[in-house]
């Protein structure tokens, strides 16, 4: 099963995972790295590398909060490995899609990453605009 890392500014990742747990229950192979103020890039990169090494030859999908932010920049440095993919802009629907898709062992890392990203994007709606279309 594809491992998942949630790497974010502050405690956003921890709370996001807890919220996901409320919907899909406890998950295996999930690591959360919270980048706090005062942490260096090397501190966080070291922790991420430790998790990637822990997964070994198994695939690992890293979710980060913001493209261009430090968690994303750090993660992108590991894209050279075929076993790692990074998706930025993590939100709850995106995470739920990844958790449910990876249960099917036949889905590839690339498929899970793409479908998760799509689920995250499609979940963003301005509700008023939807209602105006219906009127």
């Amino acid at each position: 099963m594809v491992g998942i890392v949630i790497l974010t500014h502050g405690l956003f990742g921890e709370e996001l995972y807890r919220s996901a747990e409320m919907i899909v229950g406890r998950q295996d192979k999930v690591e959360i790295i919270s980048m706090q103020a005062g942490f260096s890039l090397d501190d966080v990169a070291g922790r991420l590398e430790g998790v990637i090494n822990l997964y070994g030859s198994e695939c690992c999908l890293v979710f980060t909060d913001m493209f261009g932010g430090s968690p994303s920049n750090i993660s992108m440095a590991y894209l050279g490995a075929d076993t790692v993919e990074v998706v930025s802009g993590v939100n709850l629907p995106m995470l739920l899609k990844a958790f449910t898709m990876r249960m099917d062992g036949k889905r590839t890392l690339s498929e899970i990453a793409s479908e998760s990203a799509r689920a995250g994007q499609e979940s963003i709606k301005v509700a008023g605009e939807l209602l105006n279309k219906v009127k």
Binding site: S40, L41, D43, G68, G69, S70, S72, N73, A77
Partner: protein
């Protein structure tokens, strides 16, 4: 705002820099001065890929920056020059002119460093270098444009020595 901003930030280009400085002031010219990143094509690609629309990035080593003074070719618009450490800023301290400003953004905790703000930790050597630079340039701890800048000259006492 001064036309040329020097920023000391050990996270280089990240959310605070993009949202807080580049986008807020529409700075079109960014120069990242760092030996390690200049010599690593993967890292350079990462930082190039995160540049906002309308901003261009030049990555250079400290010595090339000193020799070539690449900011001089940017005649129009602001220039944000990012260095990863106080030591690197100290190396190029003779370059900033009257139209520049030195901004201490993020320096992670480590060793005997003490907390100046939630993102800036300085040890005695770093504080001494910054104070020396402040004799000829404006040097402020200034995380975001809308934060109150802290003049480095305001740190009268050596914080590490205070703790002894």
């Amino acid at each position: 705002m001064k036309r040329i901003i020097y920023r000391v930030d050990d996270r280089f280009i990240h959310g605070q820099v993009i949202e807080g400085w580049i986008n807020y002031y529409n700075i079109p010219n960014i120069i990242l001065v760092n030996d390690r990143i200049a010599g690593d094509s993967c890292q350079r690609l990462i930082y190039e890929s995160i540049m906002p629309m309308g901003s261009r990035l030049l990555v250079t080593t400290v010595s090339d920056f000193e020799k070539k003074k690449p900011y001089k070719k940017f005649k129009k618009g602001g220039v944000l020059i990012i260095v990863g450490s106080v030591r690197d800023m100290y190396s190029i301290r003779d370059l900033p002119d009257e139209d520049s400003y030195i901004n201490i953004g993020c320096i992670a905790t480590g060793g005997r460093a003490i907390e100046v703000t939630d993102t800036v930790y300085l040890d005695c050597e770093q504080l001494d270098m910054l104070k020396e630079m402040s004799l000829s340039h404006d040097v402020f701890v200034h995380k975001l444009p809308w934060d109150m800048p802290l003049d480095i000259r305001g740190f009268e006492n050596h914080p590490a020595e205070d703790k002894k």
